[in-house]
Symmetry: C2
Subunit: 429 residues, 2 copies
């Protein structure tokens, strides 16, 4: 399949720069759209732009190695229906049509590309409703479309899955309107079918303020969260996404991985000085631990190696913290034995889910939802540790280690049990 | 592709039982061949047998759910060339021809099925040369074939990749010889092309003694060994394969997993009683640790869950051993700290390779050969531990923990380094 991208608009409110080349979370809007479409099987792109922007888009395409045809619209001041018409000879069969100034999340593109006709959103979360193009739907097709509709069902997302039949309509309008007609006129006359994709991440960019909203959308939809425990869902993520929003234009995921690791190791060393401070810093590093992944997804910089190293470093932070905490707070061999088993269990919680993925090629948490319910995940262990360290005493540290030793190792046993149950009565595996 | 299996022979030296249904390592010979062929894309089987054996084969096929046509050869006492001829109307295009009394390893079938014509072995390891059918090759084709050739190049493996053209030859021989001619006569007259597949696991079964050899072949070619360290390669595997050979008809891999785990935990508990005995039992459990995998592969009972559980249990044996050893031999907090880091490193050695597989979907050892060279793998750690425990002293246990803490954690750091190098300059990933 091919994708046509309309990028001929002059973007008067953005200082005359081509909007598709504006960066949000350190990536050009069009880089995001094209990458996401390519990951869904779109191989060829047709970008309709104007004479002034063409060299900028050409340089962009070369820099990122995208396969695309540039089509020049010599009259960009006319309605954007004409821009679509100019793509006529470049596509055949079904194709995707998107706007260069819309920012889409991965989830949105994944759902939208499976749809047909106009993709519309009945629960738009990240847009300015006043500026949005509304759609009135009747019998699954567009009845009316426009900014100022009073009675409407959904909002136009700027994403379409069309076929070449649409050019019969543009041909008609070319003759009637002397080339000056909007895409909305094409859509309305074609009575396009409507597919609803509701509440997922997308927005459009008309003004500098919109860029901020797009950034927010990207960060807040960048939470993976399959392995998140109770504390992560209700506390850590609420803070980490705000930190990510603050940092997303300023730093890279790799740098955050290093910072988080250093803070974690510092918190472990702090156990030699002050247990309450150590616990608080440990919990802070646990919150920050979400940021590198969030930045990576928002900036489209995820890498398997990044995930790999992050995972090793987390284990080392936890291991070092428990080892130094035991060293600074315990004396009797029996309690050291329990600390050794707590450390073993802590690492084994991750081992048991990662080893599942190594064996079955699927994420353990997505595959076995029971694993999300059992306590003992990292965010929960760290929060518990912090609580016990706030008012440390000889007994409380021992109780902490005992709790950790029991909680983690039971969790590993339950993981093995649920994996066994899953593979004995498989649905997906 | 289809496969024709010749199973009409009366097997006079095996007590009149159909040889294809004899079990080696707890699986019928034909079960092995058909499973391996099916895993290589063969969907349909044609089994040529005699009237007496047909019900037995029918029951076998139903029990295992194989798709197969049974073709009856009413005159099994005639040469087996006629049996091949009877399959004529059941195959088209290219097909595989195998003997029901040959036992093949996975590696052999994988290589043979890519070949053409007669698959021959210039370095047969697991057969009785006196009984073997030899082949003289000229210009890549069979010149002469027979048991009593004096001058020969390779041995007939009973595995052929043919096409329907072969039935022109059998048609000729049917007329000339009144249906009584051997497969060798067909092969020689067709001047079949020869593909050499040398030194891999295969053998044939004519006598009860041959069953023993087939068993040996299956066990000794069942070593996976990609993650084996120095001690495993030069000591543990030499013993474990002999134990597997002894047990392969007697027990299942799952039972061995349990026995090995129990022995490992016992060795950990023994640290409370006698360190030398604990070390020796630990090393014994390390040797036995190879057996469940060897049995599983020899018996074609490998399962991802088996590998998963085995891997978790190994970590628990190691963790428990180190924890109890520290508990029984150490006193000072500083040495407990080192013990905690040794335990962390021990688990992390496995974590770092399994997490690699989770991220990249490939075996770390196959992918990054440097990982095989760095010391610190389980077999090496356990052997080292045993050595230090043979003459235990206050200092020697401390040195052991210090060595383990350094060795394992350096190994993890090197693993991360080599993974980074690999993904920065990828060849396969």
């Amino acid at each position: 399949m091919e994708a046509v991208i309309l990028a001929a608009g002059l973007g008067s409110r953005m200082g005359g720069k081509p909007k598709g080349l504006l960066k949000v979370a350190r990536r050009e809007i069009l880089y995001r759209t094209m990458k996401l479409l390519r990951s869904r099987g779109i191989e060829r792109f047709i970008i309709v732009t104007n004479e002034r922007y063409a060299p900028l888009y050409r340089e962009f395409l070369e820099r990122h190695g995208f396969e695309a045809d540039l089509v020049i619209n010599p009259e960009p001041e006319k309605g954007n229906g004409h821009s679509l018409h100019l793509a006529k000879d470049y596509v055949s069969g079904r194709f995707v049509l998107v706007m260069s100034d819309h920012v889409y999340s991965e989830a949105f593109v994944g759902a939208a590309i499976e749809g047909n006709g106009l993709i519309a959103d009945r629960m738009p979360r990240w847009i300015d409703l006043g500026e949005a193009t509304k759609v009135k739907v009747k019998d699954g097709r567009v009845e009316q479309i426009g900014k100022n509709l009073e009675d409407w069902d959904a909002v136009d997302t700027g994403f379409f899955v069309l076929d070449e039949g649409i050019f019969e309509i543009t041909e008609e309008l070319e003759n009637e309107k002397n080339g000056d007609y909007s895409l909305s006129e094409v859509v309305e006359r074609a009575k396009l079918p409507v597919t609803f994709v509701d509440g997922l991440g997308w927005t459009d960019v008309d003004t500098p303020k919109d860029l901020k909203r797009a950034r927010k959308m990207l960060v807040f939809t960048a939470v993976k969260g399959t392995g998140d425990g109770f504390i992560s869902r209700h506390l850590n993520r609420k803070i980490s996404t705000r930190i990510s929003y603050f940092l997303v234009e300023r730093t890279t995921p790799n740098r955050m991985t290093v910072v988080t690791f250093v803070l974690g190791i510092l918190s472990a060393l702090l156990t030699l000085v002050s247990l309450p401070l150590a616990g608080i810093l440990y919990q802070l590093s646990s919150i920050l631990d979400g940021v590198d992944g969030e930045l990576a997804r928002a900036q489209m910089r995820t890498s398997r190696f990044g995930g790999y190293i992050d995972s090793l470093l987390d284990r080392y932070v936890d291991g070092t913290f428990l080892a130094l905490l035991a060293y600074s707070a315990l004396r009797e061999p029996l309690w050291y034995l329990i600390a050794l088993l707590a450390l073993l269990g802590s690492v084994m919680v991750s081992y048991s889910t990662e080893r599942f993925k190594a064996a079955y090629g699927e994420d353990a948490y997505s595959c076995i939802s029971a694993l999300r319910m059992i306590p003992g995940k990292r965010d929960e262990r760290i929060f518990l540790t912090m609580l016990f360290l706030l008012y440390p005493g000889n007994v409380s540290i021992k109780v902490l280690f005992l709790l950790l030793a029991i909680l983690t190792n039971i969790r590993v046993a339950l993981t093995a049990y649920f994996v066994h149950k899953k593979v004995s009565y498989p649905k997906t595996i």
